[in-house]
């Protein structure tokens, strides 16, 4: 973990409530896809945890959805805004287990962290398939960006306005043979993917956090291997350790 001051260089709407923010600053502490950063916002007590969509040396890309007052304030930030950010938080995705043909499944604002994962997997020469799920075509984003990485992209929308009508799980039969699965999205989606994938995999979870670095025990969950903190031991958990409670 590292506390760094970043400067907003871009903050644009991708859909009506999903925004992409690019920031310049030191990204050295971000060591794995699936990690997150925790942003201090003027006028809000707690920081806002946002998953890393992409990072290069000196540039951080975040994609966030406006869900409350904090993200509303973020959406209004002009370029040039300086932000105090804790980077390199959490236990991210491990690419070693992917096999040759990994399947990445993301829903809504669970899509962004899969971008850096897909980038690393394609760079390793893996044949990556990505399933992206959204409510409607108006909510969809980043399919082209994943394609540009060389990934095969399937889209599912609940109303069928683009891609397959239904949920991400409805796209799985069309994928054919895959060696491993990576998943990020709302918990009902994670659960459906868990039931509908045959391979081992890694799943990224979300929870209301206090600190974001393992101190407050606010975001604990039970696993088959004991209690874990979503912020520090997660957000990515192995399929084999997950206990579904809700």
């Amino acid at each position: 973990m590292k506390e760094t001051v970043f400067t907003v260089t871009e903050n644009i709407a991708l859909t009506k409530d999903v925004f992409r923010m690019k920031l310049s600053g030191c990204t050295d502490d971000i060591t794995a896809p699936g990690q997150f950063v925790n942003i201090r916002l003027d006028g809000f007590y707690l920081r806002r945890p946002i998953s890393v969509c992409d990072r290069t040396a000196g540039e951080l890309t975040l994609i966030y959805k406006v869900v409350g007052h904090g993200t509303e304030a973020m959406a209004k930030m002009p370029t040039g805004t300086a932000l105090d950010i804790l980077t390199g938080l959490g236990n991210g995705y491990k690419t070693e287990k992917s096999g040759d043909r990994p399947l990445l499944i993301g829903g809504g604002v669970g899509v962004p962290p899969l971008y850096l994962l897909a980038k690393e997997l394609t760079a390793q020469g893996k044949a990556v398939t990505v399933i992206l799920g959204f409510r409607t075509s108006a909510d969809a984003f980043y399919a082209k960006e994943f394609e540009a990485l060389g990934a095969k992209v399937l889209v599912a929308t609940e109303d069928g306005s683009v891609g397959t009508k239904g949920f991400v799980t409805d796209c799985i039969p069309a994928v054919g043979d895959y060696t491993y699965s990576y998943c990020c999205g709302p918990e009902p989606m994670l659960k459906a993917v868990y039931k509908n994938t045959k391979t081992s995999g890694q799943y990224s979870f979300e929870e209301r956090m206090g600190c974001g670095f393992g101190a407050c025990m606010g975001c604990s969950c039970k696993t088959l291997y004991g209690n874990k903190r979503i912020c520090k031991d997660g957000p990515v958990l192995e399929k084999e350790e997950i206990v579904w409670e809700k």
Binding site: R40, F44, G210, A215, M217, G218, C219
Partner: protein
């Protein structure tokens, strides 16, 4: 800048400065040691420990509030066996000062057993008896909201521990001074206050409480004036040292707490929004003392009385 003295003495044990990260915001210390040298702290109070391991309450356990937060963690901890067998040996590698052992429980038996066991641990300097956790049912705060039960549990623990016993008080009472006097009479060497204030938030989208536990404890900068008032009241009501806490966020707040009567000052929620909070406050103390013409912190305790 002239020489200033930040040292204080808490129940006979010297502290380099009055800063103490509060229980529940600092784990068992060693994880913060990766961020900065925690030996700069006066000491810290470790995570409230019970006899058995506890998962705590279901999530969500955290809700944000204006200038603060609610938590309903519910005393998640690995249990006293693991604290003695794992957490304290890990801590010893990175922290070379006496630590404050925070003890919680659900029965008189549990309080005395856990306190007696931690009392024997070499690195434990003080026992902080938590009779004020608002997030567990049938324990914690149930002992701290009447003078009679606070006195009973203090007396029982006093009989089995040799180290200084500090009783952590709840603000969720009619007269905190009365409870403080009761634990002083029962043999406490000090009191610490305030634990969190009971509160709640409702999620407007779901129209349901945000916290799975419905209620939680409010902490953070917003509660500072309430905490300061209670520290002032209690330090007038008892002769034993008072450890002040509740919304302390910077060096000025530390000095205010001490002027109100605190011998030492715990920092809680601020650690969660700024992991370097205690390091930063310790660094800011000398200049802040200088600014207000204070040469020695131990001389200002209760100065506002």
């Amino acid at each position: 800048m002239g020489e200033v003295n930040t040292a204080v003495t808490l129940c006979g044990i010297p502290l380099d400065n009055p800063l103490i990260p509060a229980s529940g915001t600092f784990g068992y210390g060693y994880e913060f040691a990766e961020l900065y040298d925690i030996n700069m702290l006066g000491t810290f109070s470790f995570k409230g420990t019970t006899r058995e391991p506890r998962f705590g309450n279901p999530t969500p356990r955290i809700a944000e509030c204006p200038s603060g937060m609610l938590n309903a963690v519910g005393l998640q901890n690995p249990g006293v066996d693991a604290v003695i067998g794992h957490e304290l040996p890990e801590l010893k590698k990175v922290f070379h000062k006496p630590v404050m052992a925070n003890v919680s429980g659900f029965s008189l038996d549990e309080y005395t057993e856990v306190s007696a066991r931690l009392d024997k641990e070499e690195q434990v300097g003080w026992i902080e008896l938590n009779i004020s956790c608002p997030n567990v049912h049938g324990g914690g705060m149930a002992f701290g909201t009447s003078a009679a039960s606070a006195e009973t549990v203090t007396k029982a623990v006093r009989a089995v521990v040799k180290k200084p016993l500090i009783v952590k008080l709840s603000p969720n009472v009619t007269d905190i001074g009365e409870i403080a006097r009761a634990v002083e009479a029962a043999g406490a060497d000090g009191v610490s206050l305030i634990n969190t204030l009971m509160g709640m938030r409702i999620d407007l989208r779901r129209k349901r409480p945000i916290l799975a536990n419905v209620t939680g404890g409010y902490s953070g900068a917003a509660v500072f004036p309430v905490a300061l008032r209670m520290v002032y009241q209690v330090s007038k009501a008892v002769k034993i040292p008072v450890v002040g806490m509740g919304g302390v966020s910077n060096a000025e707040d530390v000095i205010e707490m001490m002027l109100a009567g605190a011998t030492a000052v715990e920092i809680g929620a601020e650690n969660l929004r700024n992991p370097y909070a205690c390091r930063d406050i310790i660094a800011a103390l000398p200049a802040t003392m200088e600014k207000y013409g204070i040469k020695s912190l131990s001389e200002i305790i209760g100065g506002a009385h």
